[in-house]
């Protein structure tokens, strides 16, 4: 296994990861908070700045690398995942972070996203989901809810949206989590978890675009509704939510259902969260109801699923080592000569 470069630098602070570039997101954009949380956790992960690379595609979120005092590439639309794959294959010791948006990595770059996940490169994919195209000034995105009225859908959008966590699970991602810009503590935890996972970490971050899709997630993020609508997952703990922590989710066979605690059910009857359980994860990622519908499940946040599988770059290095051990180090002269030669005098 190739360990990511260990700490060689002196103790750093969040400031060390910021640079002098003026941050150019709209005032109030959720991206600011995400930038701040990333800069806050990076000093804790013990990796020298020069060994961190942030790769992004195109979109508002993709300006991210410019504001980081690490190595970075702001690339082309949808391809950050593929660029990061090549970089990680070539340089397994680097800590590679991909910053992308819902349009970037689920629409134009959807193909690369699923392949990155199945191959399991040891990278962190931060998907800033704002359910809108911000940079092009407000068109519906592949995560926008149905019937969304935008500049490109004045009569409402017809597209059924992606469920990003379910998509990631379908692509056999080895780490799937969800967080939100408005909960710095939770976001920091999730960023640290994503980084700690050896393999492709898929972290969806609900991000408010206050210009073109303001309040898209406020039902999950605002104090008044958060407790009722957001379900925070904790390993080994029952699924409990509600302002009074009086509601829970239990599994009735394969069917999840909401129950009231104290009314015939107690915490022992509830679904106990287990990140390692692939089958439960399949149900969990499907708790994706419209929060404005009459009967609906709360939206889960936290780590849905984590499993271990060899990362692509480790397998690649191992294969090269094994092949070399078996065949001996390559000899170019022998190769150029081949098996059959003849002399002309």
């Amino acid at each position: 296994m190739t360990a990511t470069a260990e700490m060689t630098a002196p103790v750093l602070t969040a400031k060390d990861f910021a640079n002098e570039q003026e941050v150019r997101w709209c005032p109030g954009c959720g991206d600011y908070s995400i930038l701040k949380q990333v800069q806050t956790i990076l000093p804790q992960i013990g990796i020298a700045r020069e060994n961190i690379v942030v790769v992004s595609g195109i979109g508002c979120s993709s300006r991210f690398p410019y504001y980081m005092n690490t190595y970075g590439m702001h690339s082309i639309h949808g391809r950050a995942t593929a660029i990061a794959s090549g970089l990680k294959a070539a340089r397994p010791e680097l800590s590679v972070w991909i910053v992308s948006g819902d349009g970037d990595s689920l629409s134009i770059g959807g193909n690369h996203t699923i392949h990155l996940l199945r191959r399991n490169f040891n990278v962190n994919l931060l998907l800033f989901n704002n359910q809108i195209y911000g940079l092009t000034k407000g068109q519906y995105s592949p995560t926008s809810e149905e019937n969304k009225v935008t500049k490109s859908s004045p009569a409402g959008s017809l597209d059924h949206p992606f469920n990003p966590a379910a998509l990631a699970l379908g692509a056999d991602a080895t780490f799937i989590a969800r967080s939100m810009d408005r909960d710095p503590k939770h976001l920091q935890q999730m960023l640290l978890r994503a980084n700690a996972h050896h393999g492709a970490s898929f972290l969806e971050i609900y991000q408010n675009c206050n210009i073109f899709n303001d309040g898209a997630f406020e039902i999950f993020t605002e104090k008044s509704s958060k407790a009722e609508e957001a379900l925070f997952l904790e390993q080994g703990q029952p699924l409990i939510f509600g302002a009074n922590k009086d509601k829970g989710i239990r599994l009735n066979g394969h069917k999840p259902e909401i129950v009231k605690l104290g009314e015939g059910f107690n915490a022992d009857d509830l679904w106990i969260h287990d990140e390692k359980d692939f089958f439960k994860a399949q149900i969990l990622v499907r708790l994706f109801d419209n929060p404005h519908s009459a009967e609906h499940f709360p939206r889960p946040f936290g780590v849905f699923f984590e499993t271990q599988r060899a990362s692509y770059e480790d397998a690649m290095a191992m294969q090269i080592d094994e092949f070399t051990a078996k065949k001996g180090k390559g000899n170019l002269d022998k190769l150029l000569q081949g098996n059959e030669t003849w002399e002309i005098d």
Partner: protein, 615 residues
């Protein structure tokens, strides 16, 4: 009976049959055997795009042409001396290009009424019975029957499997006809089928039966022999263009000290380069079969950014998909080699047929002002040197480079006087590791005297910086939308590519007078045809010279001057006239074109005609 042997100088054989008849393997085996006896040679495999094209039809004919000689050989030959036709369709397709008086060897079984019908012969017409083969030396052999008879003792195989050895019977017979040794092919069969004794035995028995058939049957009154060719002295092997590309890349990786990373997606006719490179893991080569063409190139960009030698291989349709990413590499100014094995287009076009029609795409096929150097290869073995040069330019000038080959030289083979590593040039590469003296702040886009920026890879402490696809400020590389700056940067990037002309050799003549009536200017795979056509006309006393471009962008500095030394310039291309338009625009010369767009190489004879018309 002992048959007398006649020494001949120059022979073209075409093996043709159904795409399931194993003609490519037969041709390759004959080629290797020919190479080993020291003949000069050139091959032209030509096969349908479908893996199993409709059986017995004209569309399903697969052919392999080998031209071998005791003289120098530059093309696979315009027409063949010997045609082996396994069925009626193979005869129908190839009779036009078989020399009058030539030998035609027919597999009788392939001329039954069904095969005749599938080949599109009219009812009741059989070329074996009418006079259409008059003037040829025709031998009808019941290959199927003879092969089955030879394999009667093999009990483990059914008839269908036994019939697969038919091609070996034919090969054995041709070996007899040309006085060859069977050993190379037996060794090959051992390697391939050694673990399947029945299949191995059936192939060897069929091969020997074919050979012995020549000995026993009294129909053939002469055997032939081609003496060793008078090639420059040295050690030779046979090589195809695609293998030469793979070897050239590997050599460039070793000589530059940069680990090789190939990001690619399978596409005809480029895939063999992936096949070859994926075997070189013990050289540390990393091959990545990406999810699509775009991920092929962008993963290579990621690897280059990390300090590897990033390579992507493709053909025309893949080039189209890679366009945006090439632009990224241009604006990032990082090394990358994009290999395009051209085929007939547009769109999916003619996947297995050759064409030189992606030159415009290489020159202009991207958004914005997006210049990229272009290097082309002219013969199978030249692919080695040309791709080595493409790498050198990419890493020393911090630019993506397009390397152009095509299906004809990619699959064609020729003898190669292979180099020793000690004779290969080193490719000097340096990474920027720290700020220079007096430099207080990193300026990642500050250029050296060649106009080239430094290569700084992640992991270099103290030089952390950000790069991207947005326009950058001169020197600092910071994002800039300043209009003056944009013009400066466009000019900088262009100058960097133009400056490469100072670091490539001047154009030389391949043959002919330094001043005269006609200069034939070519690029890429037309080399052999031009060389032999020009030689023929020079032999007739014509004042004609041949220059062949390797560097297509930028052009060698003396090219304009060179063209002025001739009354006329002829530019033959396997396209609708691309280099010619670029040359005209660049140098205002009144060049003439000779263009063929039929998915096949230009022949020597037609080119002789085209040049003669200029006199």
């Amino acid at each position: 009976m002992s048959v007398p042997t006649q020494v001949v100088e120059d022979v073209v054989i075409k093996f043709a049959g159904d795409s399931g008849d194993g003609m490519q393997l037969t041709g390759t085996q004959f080629t290797n055997n020919t190479a080993l006896i020291g003949n000069d040679l050139s091959t032209f495999p030509d096969y349908p795009a479908e893996i199993r094209a409709p059986l017995g039809t004209v569309a399903g004919v697969s052919g392999f042409q080998v031209h071998f000689s005791s003289q120098r050989v530059y093309t696979p030959g315009d027409s063949c001396d010997v045609l082996v036709a396994m069925n009626a369709a193979a005869l129908k397709v190839n009779i036009k290009t078989t020399k009058k008086g030539g030998i035609i060897i027919l597999n009788l079984d392939g001329f039954d009424s069904k095969n005749l019908r599938l080949a599109g012969y009219a009812d009741g017409v059989n070329p074996l019975n009418d006079d259409s083969l008059q003037g040829f030396e025709v031998y009808k052999i019941d290959v199927t029957k003879l092969t089955r008879e030879a394999l009667t003792d093999i009990s483990g195989l059914g008839v269908k499997e036994k019939d697969r050895a038919k091609n070996m019977f034919v090969l054995g017979f041709i070996y007899w006809l040309y006085n060859r040794d069977l050993q190379t092919t037996i060794a090959f069969l051992e390697d391939k089928f050694g673990k399947k004794p029945d299949i191995f035995n059936s192939n060897v028995l069929a091969l020997k039966a074919g050979y012995n058939y020549g000995d026993t049957i009294e129909a053939f009154t002469t055997r032939y022999k081609v003496e060793k060719a008078k090639l420059p002295s040295g050690k030779y092997r046979s090589i195809t263009g695609n293998t030469a590309v793979a070897y050239g890349l590997l050599a460039a990786s070793e000589q530059s000290g940069l680990p090789l990373f190939l990001g690619t997606y399978p596409i005809t006719p480029a895939t063999d380069i992936l096949h070859d490179l994926s075997k070189f893991k013990n050289f540390g080569v990393k091959t990545f079969q990406a999810e699509d063409e775009i991920a092929g190139i962008t993963s290579a960009i990621g690897a280059s950014y990390g300090g590897s030698l990033g390579i992507t291989t493709t053909s025309g349709p893949g080039m189209a998909l890679k366009g945006e990413a090439m632009g990224l590499a241009v604006i990032l100014e990082i090394p990358l080699v994009i290999i395009n094995i051209q085929r007939g287009g547009p769109s999916t076009g003619l996947p297995t047929k050759t064409e030189q029609s992606d030159l415009f795409q290489a020159y202009y096929g991207r958004n914005g002002e997006c210049p990229m150097p272009i290097v082309s290869a002219s013969t199978p073995s030249d692919c080695f040197d040309a791709v080595f040069e493409a790498v050198r330019i990419a890493v020393q000038h911090m630019t993506p480079v397009i390397f152009l080959s095509d299906g004809y030289i990619a699959n064609g083979a020729e003898p190669w006087k292979f180099p020793q590593t000690k004779d290969l040039k080193k490719i000097e590469v340096s990474f920027k590791k720290e700020l220079a003296e007096g430099e207080t702040k990193l300026r990642p886009y500050k250029r050296d005297e060649k106009g080239v920026r430094p290569w700084i890879v992640p992991g270099t402490a103290g030089l952390e910086h950000r790069i991207g696809g947005l326009e950058k400020e001169d020197e600092t590389g910071n994002v800039s939308y300043d209009s003056e700056n944009h013009q400066i940067m466009v000019k900088n990037r262009e100058a960097k590519v133009n400056n490469i002309a100072d670091y490539i050799p001047l154009q030389t003549l391949d043959s002919g007078p330094e001043q005269g009536d006609v200069l034939v200017l070519g690029w890429g795979s037309t080399y052999g045809a031009i060389k032999s056509a020009v030689a023929e006309l020079q032999g007739k006393g014509k004042s004609v010279a041949h220059a062949h471009l390797r560097y297509v962008r930028p052009f060698p500095k003396n090219l304009g001057e060179m063209m002025k030394n001739y009354k006329q310039v002829l530019i033959p291309e396997i396209n609708n006239g691309q280099l010619i338009k670029i040359i005209k625009a660049e140098y205002l010369v009144n060049a003439k074109g000779y263009n063929k767009i039929k998915g096949t190489p230009i022949s020597r004879a037609e080119l002789v005609g085209a040049i003669e018309e200029l006199f």
